[in-house]
């Protein structure tokens, strides 16, 4: 039984630059009681799809049909749609902090939601709210009823959101990236909770995510979106285990959790198309390793015997392109050649009220020349603070940081400036770490200017050379950061960091803000640069799969301490600490390959 039946949905959103064709001719059905996943990179139209279905994008132009329990949501009046929202269809958003009102207690907000749709007494609503909070396993629910959102952690807030979405027994729960803002261990708990609630309440869940690993774990069926189109759909294990569409195959090849460590990721080349003027024919044609001449014409929707649908001309399984070849490493890391030594480093922040807060607690660590050391931990464990301390951006309270055998505490200002040439940082946020008002050429040229290495024409030449190295078009030096995509901006950040030939580059979550296919491009670039320039990396991440893929050694941090340190495979294969085991079990598992021939049943649409 289909609870949601979307037929030929087209969504256009008018903007200043013209209409964004966010969703183009998408059809899918969600069956009653199933866990349906929509996966896609940013800009694939997946969020717009569900938001416009719910009438949450008022200025969008929609055509097609969205049948929910037999009723077309697109033709409902705003008032009728409002009554559906919450009561019949509820939504869970990505950011649990901004979706809860900070000025009201959590309990009040649930009661309010119940009473907005049903005529029940306050007491009855409160009893139900407490019951719900218990269901989502909030400890001591009756007492926490009167707590405010800021008194809950991120994971607890998302539990509250789930409780709220369940409060009216909706037939369909739409979860838009519900775990993206959470730590991986919490993420796993929330996913389990969602799956469990689906069992208990018999609700249907439609979850949107950019993360293939997450969806492969929980979804019954998945739909892969790209450039506003549905490229592939079908049962989760057969789509992800044996993709019929080259795009899905490409995504899996560029996901680090799905590739054996040491084997290079195979990124999807290029960038997603503009939704302002999507290409005619196949939207994926320009990046597709299997592209043929016929792909310039609109591809047909091919149905296979196992229920998989693929919007592609290809009738055979997609082929794997050759892995990029890597140059031999310049330096082989050895244990007697350390570049940074940290001894008994402690860092405390004074607090306005109460005791000082200890962020780093007696940390000792050494980074070997030429290696990649991974620093893993959940948010708030102090990994970024440690990196900042090593980069000399925060003075340590106690302890010694030695760089090339020299104690950094004794350095004068001028000596520090020299030291900065050797340690560089690539920041997490490719949007925040580049000044939006300055041209890219001058941003990348900053190191040359500050250290008076080159000026004028010579500096420009060096900048263009760097842009070439990191894979940017050197003619774009005159543009502003806003004119580049996320992955390109991260390349700008990398170019700036390697400008002065540093010895150590601190990478603070360099790929966590990027899409999977772009992540792979950047990770491969970093690998290449390390081999060619003999760099040493300190790689900070919360993503164990990425760390395992790129790092030689891994340090696991928890509560300001390093609790485990060892070779990547040792930590991964035989973890010693309970926390490490917990982290590992929360990380996405490799998706099992399903090797099976499928038979083409029918093909419809297309240009023939």
């Amino acid at each position: 039984m289909a609870i949601l039946d979307v037929r030929n949905l087209v969504v256009d959103i008018p903007t200043e630059d013209g209409a964004v064709h966010a969703v183009q001719d998408v059809s899918f059905t969600v069956n009653e009681g199933e866990f349906f996943g929509i996966v896609g990179e940013s800009g694939s139209g997946k969020s717009v799809l569900v938001q416009s279905v719910m009438g949450l994008i008022p200025q969008s132009k929609r055509t097609g049909q969205v049948l929910f329990q037999g009723e077309d949501l697109l033709t409902l009046s705003p008032e009728a749609l409002r009554q559906k929202r919450g009561a019949k269809i509820s939504m869970i958003f990505q950011d649990p902090l901004s979706s809860l009102h900070p000025q009201y207690t959590v309990g009040w907000q649930i009661v309010e939601q119940i009473r907005a749709h049903e005529r029940v007494s306050k007491e009855a609503a409160k009893a139900r709210a407490i019951e719900l909070l218990e269901k989502v396993r909030i400890p001591d629910a009756a007492a926490r009823f009167d707590a405010y959102p800021h008194q809950f952690s991120g994971g607890m807030r998302q539990r509250v959101m789930i409780a709220m979405s369940l409060s009216l027994n909706p037939a369909l729960i739409i979860a838009d990236e519900p775990t993206t803002a959470l730590d991986s261990t919490v993420q796993a708990q929330i996913l389990d909770l969602l799956a469990e609630m689906r069992q208990d309440f018999g609700a249907t869940v439609l979850m949107i995510s950019h993360d293939l690993g997450i969806l492969s774990r929980v979804a019954d069926r998945v739909m892969v979106m790209y450039g506003g189109r549905k490229l592939e759909s079908g049962a989760s294990d057969s789509v992800l285990g044996n993709p019929a569409h080259p795009y899905t195959a490409g995504l899996l090849r560029s996901s680090s959790f799905n590739r054996a460590p040491g084997t290079p990721l195979i990124p999807i080349a290029g960038r997603p198309p503009s939704l302002l003027s999507p290409p005619s024919g196949c939207v994926f044609r320009d990046r597709c390793p299997n592209a043929m001449d016929i792909c310039s014409e609109a591809p047909p929707l091919q149905r296979y015997d196992d229920g998989t649908e693929s919007l592609c001309w290809l009738t055979v399984p997609p082929v794997e392109p050759p892995a990029p070849e890597l140059p031999p490493a310049e330096i082989i890391a050895s244990s007697d050649d350390t570049i940074v030594e940290v001894e008994h480093l402690t860092l405390t922040f004074p607090q306005r009220r109460g005791d000082d807060r200890t962020v780093l607690d007696d940390i000792s660590l050494s980074v070997r020349r030429g290696e990649t050391l991974g620093l893993v931990g959940e948010s708030g464990c102090g990994k970024t603070t440690l990196a900042r301390a090593i980069a000399g951006l925060i003075p340590p309270t106690r302890g010694v940081i030695r760089f090339d055998g020299e104690d950094t505490a004794g350095l004068t200002g001028a000596e520090w400036r020299q030291m900065r040439r050797k340690v560089q940082v690539v920041f997490q946020d490719p949007f925040g770490s580049l000044n939006p008002k300055r041209r890219v050429g001058s941003i990348i040229g900053d190191p040359f200017r500050i250290h008076r290495v080159a000026s004028g024409e010579a500096r420009l030449a060096r900048v263009q050379e760097l842009m070439e190295i990191v894979g940017l078009n050197p003619e774009h030096y005159n543009r502003f950061p806003s004119q580049f995509s996320g992955g390109q901006r991260q390349r700008i950040g990398i170019a700036r960091a390697i400008a002065l030939n540093p010895e150590l580059v601190i990478l603070d979550e360099p790929v966590s803000a990027l899409d999977v296919s772009i992540q792979a491009q950047v990770l491969n670039l970093l690998d290449e640069l390390q081999r060619e320039l003999g760099l040493t990396y300190l790689f900070i991440s919360h993503d164990l799969a990425v760390v395992r893929h790129v790092c030689d050694r891994i340090a696991v941090m928890d509560g300001g301490r390093i609790i485990e340190l060892g070779r990547a495979e040792t930590v991964y294969g035989a973890p010693q600490q309970a926390f490490t085991k917990k982290l590992l079990s929360a990380a996405a598992p490799e998706i099992p390959r399903v090797e099976r021939e499928r038979q083409l049943v029918s093909a419809s649409g297309g240009a023939l």
């Binding site: 959103i13 903007t15 630059d17 200025q59 000044n435 008002k437």
Partner: protein, 320 residues
């Protein structure tokens, strides 16, 4: 729901960004701003009004020549009735005359010069001071911030008219003094805004990136902080002009600003109020009053329009 309308207005998908890259040769940010501004009728009309008033002010000597009336010249025979009452608008005096038989049109033109000069100069100086003080306070923090913030508080709590009257009583009214008084009382607002913005920008990652490269603090301030404040500075300076114009008119109205017989809109209004002249000659209050209203309204609307055009993400969300 504002959460979504903001997103939809500004979908920065990689594809969208790519499109912007493709368009880059065609549209610079100044051109984009101009295009947005031109789409807002209120801004366009305001800009036209401002340009017309500016032309009017620049052409004041031409108007005097054309009518044959000097700004302070008195026409007791033709400009006043037999009973000594000002004559209304007619063929010779297009906007009538005042109580001394002077041509209101010519005086209005010369008054516009005073208003615009005082408005623009005072606003520019006040902005410069506000930016310097605000940025210094925000960027250096610590005791510098405490000291400068208290000074800002102090200036904002001083009663404007009392000090103005006291100053003029001691030093005597003049154009220069008016500007000094207006600047003194208008820099603090912008300084406070700039300080807040600098505090916010100081925590951004690109500032940390600059620090990690070893950038000096002064150069960080000029290269990384100030360029990001261009929008509030432009908007506040534009909005500061009408405030300064009204300040000047107030001072002149009270006889503390421009010294008669030099015309200014403020002392023209004062003439109209004197002995209730407006009862018999309503144009004496209507003409400068409406001109003042038009100029300040135009600048305020243009300021609002500029803010929307320069920073479409800030307020368009609720309009969409």
């Amino acid at each position: 729901m504002s959460v979504f309308s903001k997103d939809t207005k500004l979908i920065t998908t990689p594809g969208y960004a790519a499109q912007k890259v493709a368009d880059i040769q065609a549209k610079s940010s100044a051109q984009l701003t101009l295009a947005r501004l031109l789409r807002d009728p209120a801004s366009v009309i305001s800009a036209i009004v401002i340009v017309l008033i500016a032309l009017f002010a620049i052409c004041a000597p031409l108007i005097a020549q054309w009518t044959g009336h000097g700004p302070a010249e008195q026409f007791r025979e033709t400009g006043l009735s037999a009973a000594g009452i000002p004559v209304g608008p007619n063929g010779e005096f297009l906007l009538g005359t005042d109580q001394l038989g002077r041509d209101v049109l010519v005086r209005l033109a010369y008054g516009a010069r005073v208003s615009l000069v005082v408005g623009v100069i005072a606003s520019l100086i006040a902005s410069a001071i506000g930016v310097i003080i605000g940025a210094t306070a925000g960027f250096f923090g610590g005791w510098v911030d405490t000291l400068l913030s208290r000074i800002i508080d102090l200036v904002m709590s001083v009663p404007f008219l009392l000090v103005a009257i006291a100053l003029v009583a001691v030093l005597g009214p003049s154009l220069g003094l008016s500007i000094v008084v207006i600047v003194f009382f208008s820099w603090a607002g912008l300084a406070r805004v700039i300080r807040g913005q600098v505090l916010a920008i100081r925590e951004r990652e690109y500032i940390e990136a600059a620090r990690s490269l070893g950038e000096s603090r002064l150069s960080m301030m000029f290269r990384d902080v100030l360029p990001n404040l261009v929008v509030p500075i432009i908007v506040y300076t534009t909005l500061g002009i009408p405030a300064a114009v009204v300040f000047e008119a107030t001072l002149s109205f009270l006889g503390l600003g421009i010294v008669p017989p030099t015309p200014s809109w403020g002392n023209m209004l004062a003439d109209a109020a004197n002995g209730s002249m407006y009862m018999v000659a309503p144009w004496m209050v209507l003409v400068p009053g409406l001109a003042l209203l038009a100029l300040t309204l135009a600048f305020n609307l243009l300021g609002d329009g500029l803010r929307d055009a320069l920073d479409p993400t800030s307020s368009k969300g609720n309009k969409a």
